[in-house]
Amino acid sequence: MDNSKKNVTIIGGGVAGLTTAIELSQYSFQVDVIEKSPFLGGHGIQYACKATDRCVKCGACVVEEKLKTAAALSSIRLHTESQIEKITQSKTYSVSLLKRPAFINPTKCTNCGICFQRCPADAINRGFSTGNQPLFAISKNKCLYFKDGSCTLCASKCPEDAITLTAAETTESFNSDAIVLATGFQPYNPEKKPYGYHRFVNVITNLELEQMLRRHSVAQRPSDGQAPGKIAFIQCVGSRDAKLNHLWCSKVCCGSALRMARLIRSRQPEIEISFFYIDVQSFGKNFEAFYREAQNEIEMIRSIPADIYPAEDDSLRAIYYDSSTRQSHEPIFDLVILSIGMLPNPDNSQHTEMFGLKSDPFGFWSYESSSALTNGKGVFTVGAANGPMSIAETVIQAEQTAWQVYNDLVIESNNAP
């Protein structure tokens, strides 16, 4: 199989983009992955392993493995902090990239973390994985140098001389035979919900809990770093919400939240957990057994709290109606986790227009309709950009997408008369 002269451009470096890239390189394609953030791996690279006494198949380690594999393959070029400036199509696509300045030189940086520790403005972000190289990135919005030129501490303290605050934007262009859109999802911002997010410090999202568990292994109250006595999970925040016209289920949050709840219980058995839900969605091959065990460890409450008020000592009072007793209750929690939904990526509309794609009424593409209309067009969509899906489903769809690309670019042209 020699497809090495054929190039595929993948937009988005989450697990969808990375897996598609790895698969395509197995058909000998050359692949360019364009990631707009400084860190590859998308949302999944931030997640914690949720194994208790055994693996619960959350898939977080799969993202780690895909990133490591993709980074090691010479046929894949990974571009971080990069965005498409322009794509035009004649016979093939010509792709122009705009690359934000590489303030931290990846070949010089040794991940020592001195810049991260010393920055007075909290302007240095840290990645999540060994596959995030360099591990640090400078946020221009927060950096004092870009505000008023007043600080160059990181550059002067870097022992490897790896930081150049005057680095400039660069551009790059190449030709590509197909485009794969793997731009993922956007997490719902729950500030408008009556749960006090960003007002009460002990109300956090499930995404923040994932990051907390990854970093610290245990649940902590943001207010004081102490272990919470009682935790509430509130499901379907921003999904299955007719008022917002979000008429979709985000699919993964029941699994993710219940797995995190059980992980917390296994590490911090003294913590009591309540789980507020509409319907518990199935996940994994052994859902019934998992769910049964979860019900023994977690208080399952089929109701969604209407309100959250601050209570003493930064704790929170959740108000909900209990239909089994037909009464309102106001339990107090030390930490509230909002299971926020997956929204379409706002960048999608631009691509929908650019490539004449079809999207559903909410702005997700559909894998089937996009890959069906691709013949002769060479544009494919994959992953959570096609609607909420788990890491495992994303990997499966990425294999399918790579097969479709191979089919369109190689098999069909071989079979053509």
Binding site: S282, F283, S324
Partner: protein, 536 residues
């Protein structure tokens, strides 16, 4: 003739994968158990015999030997027995829908149908044959009351309800516990169905009471959990959901092909390393309802995964990593067949001596660790190799501060990666830490452990993958048994069992790696140096 692939199955999945592979220049044999089932006949009719696709009807796999690239399959075809060599095998059987009549204490009759039977009465093309006469006004669908349902069954039920509601004089009810809307478009379909008039009754703490009278009528009484009101319902037709089971041929097929089953009986264990269509054997794939419960849409798309898996495998250089394969020294082998029995990938054949097939060997080194005659080798896996990795300067015994020397065995797929992550994230690791990376924790033998205890080490830490995340499935369990045995022995030779510890980790657990080692270093600091260290 050697076929590129042998496809096993009579349902839509088997034909989908054949269709997908027909686009390439591969040739296949399709083995179907069915012969006169009508839908099967219709399916076969679309595929005239060709050099690329040979279809055997009324056929099944009786035995299988050989390895990837040259599986030798014995088939029954009608009265005949055929032997056929194939490079790869795809298990693509159909699923088995079993109506949950018994769980609701219902007997099927004209008023009580399974969901599949109901669907068969109402084909999509529009000419409904109403299951009963026009007196049918109330239709009750039971979904996930007795056991948890799945999203695609609810989706199909709601589509039927929509059509029934649109007839104008039928009221449909869906009784459920957890409404399974986790699928694209299902939540909006739910709103559409509700707006069309279908009544959804959800149960949490109570259950509907369902009674079937002598005459076969169904009477249901239930409490609306939100208002507390009691209701009676006498549906003219009750439609019962189904449990989706693996095809009953899978158990014997799995045994014939050497595949591991999951706890439900599907031919793929619940392990992230098997995504998407992989099995424990190289060159044997399992797709659709042969590996998991799946909607028909997902089954259709999975033909792409299976086709991709075959094409990639046949293009792969299976001998690429030849240094990391086990090899049996036939002059030492006593033919006890421990290796043959234990190899999780079935990569060992009798020929007539046991030999390792390098193309199928995944290099886990479990056989090396378990061979009682020490007749199997793999690069880097001897005791001496391992001890080299733990070499460190003998500490000055008089030194004030005792820094424990920790020998840590790490599985290369998980703990060794977690260690890298801990370093990347600048966690402090104990100064006396020495690492030996192993391909699978199952590679760590009794000998490795006992020899290490006599090195210059104060404690041994074995870090495996989590149970059910182990690529070999068994390596993690085997090393746990070995360690438990040694831990029992340690007090007899005057060693504290705490000097030998085993834990499981995943590749993304950098913080936990650092915690475990810090904790162990503290324990050893308290109990002091290993009294037998350096006694070899």
């Amino acid at each position: 003739m050697k076929y590129d692939s042998l496809i096993i199955g009579s349902g839509p999945c088997a034909f989908n994968i054949a269709e997908e592979l027909l686009k390439t220049n591969m040739n296949m044999m399709l083995v179907c158990k069915d012969q006169d089932d009508a839908s099967f006949k219709a399916r076969v009719a679309g595929y005239p015999d060709s050099t690329q696709l040979k279809i055997l009807q009324d056929a099944e796999v009786m035995a299988c030997s050989g390895q990837v690239g040259r599986y030798n399959v014995i088939l029954r075809n009608g009265q005949k027995t055929i032997s056929q060599v194939v490079k790869t095998i795809i298990v693509a059987e159909k699923d088995d829908y079993q109506p949950n009549f018994a769980s609701y204490q219902l007997k099927p009759n004209q008023q009580v149908l399974s969901f599949s039977a109901m669907q068969a009465c109402m084909p999509e093309n529009g000419d409904e044959q109403w299951p009963v006469n026009e007196d049918v006004k109330h239709i009750l669908f039971l979904n996930g009351i007795a056991s948890e349902s799945v999203a695609h069954m609810l989706e199909d039920m709601m589509r039927l309800c929509l059509r029934l509601q649109s007839s104008g004089n039928i009221q449909t009810y869906i009784f459920t516990r957890n409404l399974k809307v986790a699928g694209n478009g299902i939540e909006s379909l739910y709103h559409q169905t509700k707006d069309a008039g279908t009544l959804f009754i959800k149960f949490t703490t109570t259950s509907p009471e369902i009674v079937q009278t002598q005459t076969g009528d169904v009477q249901v009484s239930y409490q609306d959990e939100i208002t507390g009101q009691l209701f009676q319902l006498q549906p003219d037709l009750t439609v019962v959901d189904e449990t989706i089971k693996p095809n009953d041929t899978l158990t014997s097929l799995g045994a014939t092909l050497g595949l591991k089953q999951d706890s439900n009986g599907f031919l793929q264990t619940d392990n992230v390393h098997r995504l998407s269509v992989l099995t424990n054997r190289k060159g044997i794939f399992t797709m659709g309802p042969s590996r998991s419960i799946m909607s028909s849409g997902a089954q259709r798309l999975e033909a792409r995964n299976a086709a991709a898996a075959v094409v990639k495998l046949l293009n792969e250089d299976l001998n690429r990593d030849e240094d990391n394969k086990a090899a049996i020294d036939t002059s030492v082998c006593v033919k006890c067949l421990t290796c043959l029995r234990l190899c999780p990938y079935k990569a060992i054949e009798l020929n007539p001596q046991p030999i390792v097939t390098p193309e199928a060997c995944e290099g886990c080194s479990i056989c090396v660790a378990e061979c009682p005659a020490l007749a199997i080798q793999m690069m880097g896996m001897t005791v001496a190799d391992m001890m080299d990795r733990f070499q460190s300067e003998i500490q000055d015994a008089a030194s004030e501060s005792f820094e424990p020397q920790l020998a840590c065995f790490c599985c290369s797929r998980s703990a060794a990666r977690a260690k890298e992550l801990a370093e990347t994230l600048s966690f402090n690791l104990p100064a006396g830490l020495r690492i030996a990376e192993v391909p699978c924790a199952g590679a760590i033998s009794l000998n490795h452990i006992l020899s290490t205890l006599r090195q210059n080490v104060d404690a041994i830490i074995v870090l495996t993958c989590h149970p059910d995340n182990c690529h070999s499935e068994v390596g993690q369990q085997m090393v746990n048994h070995r360690i438990a045995r040694i831990q029992q022995l340690l007090p007899q030779i005057g060693l504290d069992p705490e000097r030998l510890m085993i834990r499981s980790l995943a590749s993304n657990m950098g913080a936990e790696f650092a915690h475990i080692l810090a904790e162990q270093a503290n324990i050893i600091r308290k109990i002091g140096p290993n009294p037998i260290k350096g006694s070899h």
